[in-house]
Every structure is written in structure tokens, then in C-alpha cells.
Amino acid sequence: MSTVTSAVPSPVPAPHHDRLPPTLRLAVARAGIELKQFFRERDAVVFIFAYPIIMMAIFATVFDTEVQSDGTVAVPFAQYFLPGILATGIMLTSFQTMAIDLAVQRDTGALKRLRGTPLPVTAFFLGKVGQVLVNTGVQVALLLALAFIAYDVPVPDAAGWLTFAWVLVLGTATGTVCGVAFSSVPRTGRSASAVVTPVVLVLQFISGVFFAFFALPSWMQTVASLFPLKWMAQGMRSVFLPDAAKALEPAGSWELGTTAAILGAWLIAGLLVGTRTFRWRRRDDG
């Protein structure tokens, strides 16, 4: 330690003209370091990344011979389950990851530390978006591969993939900004997953993920219609279910326009609330 003077390279006179590192390069570095941390947290990997894949494997195997049917139209269980669990996965990798990560990073002082460095705010949030995109992309690819290969879910046509793409992108964006907004709700980092997980779980049960949506009580359908998960699941059903299955929807159609409108409304609401409530420091820190 006493050799510090010789070991630390001595500073050259203060140069104010040195170029600051470009924001985009820092965003990529942030995404990398966020992913590294995410995949080193075992519970995050199990309950956010692997959860939809595990659920898909369990439910599709247990109910292998069952169909979801109202007596007129019948859809194989795995085919009906895939859209709901895809939508769930998107919500977990965007909303739940953001809400918990930011609450923990705020509580441990990680956000405060970053705020004291020349890291641009834009690079920080682009890094978060990068983390969400990689997680979502890999998770969705694994889910689809599992469904197509192991459970014989039919592969959609080109028009189906187009719907899939915009529901995926809009759903991920909405989940991400709502996660930023919701991250201010948990009082501490330790309580974050206890506060966020029940919200996500209840939404899964009332939005037609574990039970067929048409089989739920109508008041439950009404409540679910206020939140994005139901609409993401319905949008995904329009992609993976035969067109005749729209008779199973309460409206008797896929309502893609409404899906876009509701997700868009949550996206804007999340942006407004998130940008106004985001804090780099804990609430009790002045």
C-alpha cells in the first residue's frame, strides 16, 4: 500500500478537451454488465427467465391429451397454453425484471453511485432496454422451439408472424416502462420481489394464462381487460390458434385494434408516471 505513489500512473495536467466516451458504446457496455449480473442471480434466472419454459413443459406434458373447448370449437391444450405463457414471459422479462432490479439497485445505492459518474442517463436506460431485449428474445425463442418441436404446435403463417412481432415489441416496451414506474412502489430492495411477484401472479390467473380465458367468470374477464397481460395473451392467441378459435373469445373476434390501443395507453401512462417518479436515491435519503 505504501507504494501507491509509484504504482498509480501519475496524472497528466487536467485536459478539458478529452472526448467523453460515446453514449451508444456505454449503452452496450451497460447491457452487458446488467446481463452478467442478472444471470448470476439464481432466483432471477429461475423465476423470471426459466419460469415460462418450465411451466410450458409441465402443463403441456400433464394435459397432453386435453383440449380447451366450449363444446363447439376445440384447441389442443399446448396450443392454447403457448400464447398465454409467451405473454407471461414478456411480462416477466420486461415488467418484473425492471421493477425488481431498479428497486434493488436504488436500495443498495447502485443507482446513486452511477448518478455520481459521467455515465449518461440515456446510456443507463438503453442498457436496461438491451438487457430486456436479449432476455425476452432468447426466452421467446426457447419457448417457441419447445412448443413447435416437443408439443407439435403449428407454426404460424407470414401474417401471423407480423402480428407476433408487433405484439412482442409493443408488449415488451409497455412492460419495461411500467416496470420503471412500478419500481418506486416497493419500500426496500428486499421487499421488491414480494411486492412485484403477487401482482404478476394474479394477472396470470385472471388473464387466461393458466385457465382458458373464456372459462373465467365474466367479472374476472372485465378486471383482466383493464391490464395489458390479457391483451398480450389474446394477441398471441390470434397468432397461434386457428382463426375459428376466435369464437372462443368473449367478443367473438381477436380485437387486435383494441389490443394495440390498450397496450399503447399503458405505454404512455407508464412513460408519464415513470419519468416523473424515477429516483436515483432511496426515499429516506433526503
Binding site: M1, P11, D18, L20, I33, K112, R113, G116
Partner: protein
């Protein structure tokens, strides 16, 4: 040589409701010095330093840090300062090497991360996850992250709280080395010996304002204070306060000649004595603030 003050604070005020955390504080830190801010808990040390770091807005007063108002901080300014916060338990899943290399990317002209890890004595822990570091190692990592961008000015908020004596010694060496390279250091501390060992100048803060400011050896008139002369005579300990101890010792020497004066001692107040005198009364305007401890507790910590 640069003569602009590294930190200039005039009549700074910050109130939280009725509590005046900072109440008319003045401060000037010169380039290249180690400046220590001493004071009991709740005196306003952390609030002040966080205003200087750009974390908090002030209610009133003038502040210039490296010539810039921290409330208008931009990336360029942030690249010229280094911050070591009071406590940190973040980034636990990364290794020391990953974290130092990553944070180095934020700066235009960073230090070499490997040399830096070596300089703070963490080479053996470079591949260890941050969560597995001891308190002292964690703190040295915090300092490494604070200086990786070659700051002109380094802020340290109670850097050695919870250190064992040996870890503190080596930490002090690290800071003195940085000062010798030209880094200006502003630190807050509870520890009088830390201020005495490190600081070129010390400010004592109480109730949100500076109550004394001087070199540690001169603080509170220590050097010119009345001395206490003590000796043994007729089997009892005798003491006398005097502004001219040399004369008294000369007189004693003649009286006892050719023998030694038994038990002779000339005592001047320690930094702790003058500090306790300054913060001695219960802080005003902070009744009900449970974080305020008595100066005595503070001094024996």
C-alpha cells in the same frame, strides 16, 4: 499554478422542514490539499458534501466546485470529480476486476484498471465477487472506483468507519499518495486521529455551520493555549496552568537542582480536548433528532 479554489461555499443553507441541516456554512478548499470536515452526527457534514457532489439542491447560498455550480452538473464536470459514498453494498455479483474495468469505460482518460487494483491492494481479490469482500476491502474498492477516472477532486464520506487500525493505516497511505499526485481531497470523518494524520486543514462543523477552521496542530489555539505543568513534590502531584511553561520549568529545575524534577510533564490540549470543547454542548435546534449522539460518545467511537 491553479489558484481557483477546488471548492468554494458561501452562506450555504439547507433546511428539512424546521430542521436546519446546513445553516450558513462557509468553506474554501484549496487545490491539492486534504481538507477534513469534522463534526458530530447530524451536524450537517453529509448534507453539505452531497450538495457539493450534485446529489442535493441547496436552499440558499453560493457553491462552486471546480468552478462549476453542482446543480448545473454535466458529464464533463462529473468526469473531473470522484465520489466515495458513506456506505455501499451494491454490484455484489460482479468481481472486483469486472467492476473496475467497467466503471473505467465511463471516463475520458481513466487509470489503468489492473494497476489501480494493485495500488489499492486488491490484486489477490481481483477475481473475487464483490459480495465476498471484507468491509475494508470493499471500502478500498469504493476508493478505486472513485479515482479510476483520475479526478481532480475526490470526495470521501467517512471513509474508514469500521476499519481495524492496520487497515486504516494503509488506507491513509493510499490517500496521502493521491494527495502527493495532486488530487484535492475533501473528506468527512468522526475520527480525530484521522483528521490529525491526514488533513492539511480541518473544519469543525456544528449545527450546520463551521465553528473552527485551521491546521490540525493549531486548531482551537492548541499551539498557543495555556499549558499545564505537572510534577511531584513532597509526595503529592502538583499542577499549574501557565502561558509561560518554559519559565516555570526553569524555576522548577533550579529548585530541584542538581536532581531531576520528579514526574515532570508539560501538557497541551489534544485535538480531542479542543474538539470536545467546541462541540461540547448539546447541539441546538436538533431536539428530537435521534441520530445525534453526545460529543463524548462521538469521541470515543
Amino acid at each position: 499554478m491553479n489558484t481557483t479554489p477546488a471548492v468554494l461555499v458561501r452562506d450555504l443553507h439547507k433546511h428539512y422542514g424546521a430542521k436546519r441541516a446546513v445553516d450558513g456554512l462557509d468553506l474554501t478548499v484549496h487545490p491539492g490539499e486534504i481538507f477534513a470536515v469534522l463534526g458530530p452526527n447530524g451536524a450537517g457534514k453529509t448534507t453539505t458534501i452531497e450538495i457539493l457532489e450534485g446529489y442535493r439542491d441547496r436552499d440558499r447560498g453560493e457553491v462552486a466546485v471546480l468552478g462549476v455550480d453542482p446543480q448545473r452538473a454535466d458529464r464533463r464536470w462529473r468526469s473531473r470529480i470522484g465520489i466515495v459514498l458513506q456506505s455501499a453494498d451494491d454490484q455484489a455479483e460482479l468481481t472486483v476486476r469486472e467492476l473496475v474495468h467497467h466503471v473505467a469505460l465511463y471516463y475520458p482518460r481513466p487509470r489503468d484498471p489492473e494497476q489501480l487494483i494493485d495500488a489499492v491492494g486488491l490484486s489477490a481479490k481481483a477475481s473475487t465477487r464483490v459480495r465476498q469482500l471484507s468491509g475494508g476491502q470493499r471500502r478500498r474498492l469504493d476508493v478505486a472506483l472513485g479515482i479510476v477516472g483520475r479526478p481532480e477532486l475526490l470526495f470521501l464520506d467517512e471513509p474508514t468507519t469500521g476499519f481495524d487500525p492496520e487497515a486504516r493505516r494503509s488506507f491513509w497511505e493510499l490517500l496521502l499518495g493521491l494527495r502527493d499526485e495532486g488530487t484535492t481531497i475533501l473528506l468527512t470523518t468522526h475520527y480525530l486521529d484521522e483528521a490529525e494524520h491526514l488533513a492539511d486543514r480541518v473544519a469543525v462543523v456544528r449545527d450546520g455551520r463551521v465553528v473552527a477552521l485551521d491546521a490540525p496542530a493549531a486548531l482551537g489555539g492548541r499551539a498557543t493555549h495555556e499549558a499545564l505543568v505537572r510534577w511531584q513534590e513532597d509526595g503529592v502531584t502538583r499542577e499549574r496552568r501557565t502561558p509561560t511553561p518554559t519559565a516555570l520549568v526553569g524555576e522548577l529545575a533550579r529548585r530541584f537542582a542538581p536532581d531531576e524534577v520528579p514526574g515532570l510533564a508539560v501538557l497541551r490540549p489534544t485535538l480531542e480536548d479542543v474538539y470536545l470543547e467546541m462541540v461540547g454542548e448539546a447541539p441546538r435546534a436538533s431536539a428530537g433528532d435521534t441520530t445525534v449522539s453526545t460529543p463524548l460518545e462521538e469521541a470515543v467511537r
